[in-house]
């Protein structure tokens, strides 16, 4: 395998609905933004593309990625669609990485989109729940928030995690997004407001859950040769990993923890793993990505993380899967202030505020979650962070992490069925 660089990225504003543009135009706008950011780059340097969108039900147009491909003027270059539930965008990013790393392509475009506004919210929830076993899970009351609520209930039981700790994630991500003009749902919240918002599935309230969105995102990945010609601040993709777990969470084993280099077996002597409280696929993805990137202790070696916070609870669970803290310490981790941005007043007591910002962009909770675009959106924000160009792209530098060296992006599907972790490094 050879080195792979991200040389540009673009995103549309994520919104409840974009009735004035279809998915092709959204992708085109994100693509044009990415092209404008590398003026020396030309379309004939592109060898092919990978498109991602999650749901044929939402799109009601099979082979929609072919329509984006022709709209971008990339025919007859190689193209394919990648689909993997909520991790669709992360899988698309890694698929483009594979094309360049293997030498098959010198430059590959990853584009993703979702148009979720075409049905009402509850029909949308039904579509999403069809990504659970339709014989044994869906008919019982197919609802992803219900599934995540059961998982976090068990996390609370195992570790003493509290709803207030979960609400702190909501406060953090919604408030970060106040400085991100691409975000759909930026606002100042208190823990009390999160808890008093309508209950969706106990213990998760409306403000614990990301919203449905329309949006698109594009990443351009390239070999060293192409990169040297067009980009003076490329970001290197130094690690990719992914993992999986059983579709039915009822089927998850209760065995031993997959250890990261900085952990010992004795840390988890009595823990039954993953059960339904943790994401084994996320741990596997992290382990593989860290191995490739040479990371021994993620909390010391990462500058920021953009992770898949479809729920406040899953952000806490993911801190642990990624080894930012030990299993069981996710609630205390957010309470300590470590994952908050430095220099932002959240109205909370945060003794270690800003040591490792998680979801500086506002994450899915505040940016929105147009599924096929989401994992690529994380890559674009991480790219801008590592280039130090947040001010240029967001119009202000409140979310710029100071001198970032390494960022982690994490994309997550189903109840943890596919998960990707990719590591990006500054020039």
């Amino acid at each position: 395998m050879r080195p792979v660089y991200m040389i540009s990225g673009g995103i549309t504003k994520f919104a409840k609905a974009h009735p004035d543009k279809d998915f092709r135009l959204m992708v085109k706008q994100a693509y044009d933004y990415a092209l404008r950011d590398v003026p020396k780059f030309s379309k004939d340097m592109i060898d092919g593309a990978v498109g991602s969108y999650f749901s044929d039900h939402f799109t009601r147009q099979l082979k929609a990625a072919s329509m984006a491909q022709d709209y971008l003027g990339l025919c007859p270059k190689p193209s394919k669609r990648v689909e993997g539930g909520g991790a669709t965008g992360g899988l698309c990013f890694q698929s483009a990485w594979e094309a360049v790393a293997s030498g098959r392509m010198n430059c590959c475009v990853a584009f993703g989109f979702e148009t979720m506004s075409r049905v009402n919210t509850w029909k949308g929830n039904e579509f999403i729940a069809l990504a659970s076993d339709t014989n044994f899970d869906f008919p019982v009351g197919g609802f992803y928030t219900g599934y995540y609520a059961m998982m976090v209930r068990r996390h609370m039981h195992e570790y003493g995690t509290t709803v207030e700790q979960m609400a702190m994630v909501s406060v953090k991500n919604h408030m970060n997004a106040l400085y991100n003009p691409y975000a759909q749902k930026a606002k100042r919240l208190t823990i009390k407001q999160v808890r008093e918002s309508p209950m969706v599935a106990t213990p998760l309230t409306m403000e614990d859950i990301c919203t449905m969105s329309d949006g698109a995102a594009v990443c351009i990945l390239a070999s060293e040769e192409v990169t040297a010609k067009v980009c003076n601040r490329p970001v290197t993709v130094t690690g990719v990993g992914s993992g999986s777990d059983a579709m039915r969470m009822a089927d998850r084993p209760h065995g031993n923890v997959i250890l990261l280099p900085h952990e010992r077996e004795s840390d988890y002597a009595h823990l039954k793993y993953p059960g339904v409280h943790s994401f084994r696929g996320g741990r596997m993805a992290a382990k593989l990505a860290y191995q490739m990137a040479g990371i021994r202790n993620p909390i010391e070696e990462l500058s920021f993380v953009e992770l898949h916070d479809a729920y406040t609870s899953s952000e806490i669970q993911t801190y642990e899967d990624l080894g930012l803290c030990k299993y069981g310490e996710g609630g205390k981790f957010v309470e300590s202030g470590v994952p908050f941005m430095p220099g932002v007043d959240y109205g909370l007591e945060l003794p270690k505020q800003g040591r490792l910002p998680v979801n500086p962009s506002g994450g899915l909770l505040a940016c929105g979650h147009p599924v096929g675009a989401t994992g690529l959106m994380q890559a674009v924000f991480a790219f801008w962070q590592l280039q130090g160009t947040i001010k240029k792209h967001l119009g202000n530098d409140r979310l710029q992490v100071k001198n970032p060296k390494r960022g982690l992006i994490h994309s997550h599907a189903g109840t943890g069925t596919y998960i990707t972790v990719s590591i990006l490094e500054a020039p």
Binding site: E126, N135, F136, F143, M150, H157, R248, P253, V276
Partner: protein, 141 residues
């Protein structure tokens, strides 16, 4: 010009086979809960599958006890459109003695505030089967 927006209806009936899982659904009509036990390693599944996820060997049908415990729970106040009219409803994962995995079901007949992890529950079966997994649900023991 404002975008032109139309309503577009879509509906379809599927012919769905439970295939190798069929005995589970038939057993529900007889008041039995079937799981699977691996013929090679003995791993026991509370939700059936015809091959073992651990070792790949075929499984045999294994009758589960009708009493179990709540492993985790939630009460849904919203849901997918299909289930909205049934809200609020309580979902549980059930654990059984002698089974290595869990079973997703509804808990009926309990106040949401009274549900606890570890709470004993018993299976109840529909008198008129619909040949769906909802032909079984649980109630407090």
């Amino acid at each position: 010009m404002d975008p032109l927006i139309i309503q577009d209806h879509y509906e379809i009936d599927y012919r769905h086979s439970y295939a190798e899982d069929s005995p589970f659904f038939v057993a529900l009509t007889k008041g039995k809960l079937l799981g699977s036990r691996c013929t090679a390693c003995g791993y026991t599944y509370a939700t059936p599958r015809s091959h073992c996820m651990e070792c790949g060997a075929p499984t045999s049908w294994h009758e589960l006890p009708l009493a179990g415990r709540v492993h985790t729970y939630t009460t849904c106040h919203y849901g997918g459109e299909l289930f909205l009219k049934e809200t609020p409803f309580t979902l549980i994962l059930v654990e059984f003695d002698g089974a290595d995995t869990l079973f997703l079901s509804r808990l009926k007949g309990a106040e949401p505030e009274a549900v606890r992890i570890g709470m004993p529950v018993v299976a109840r079966f529909a008198k008129t089967p619909s040949f769906k997994v909802t032909d079984v649900w649980f109630e407090p023991a």
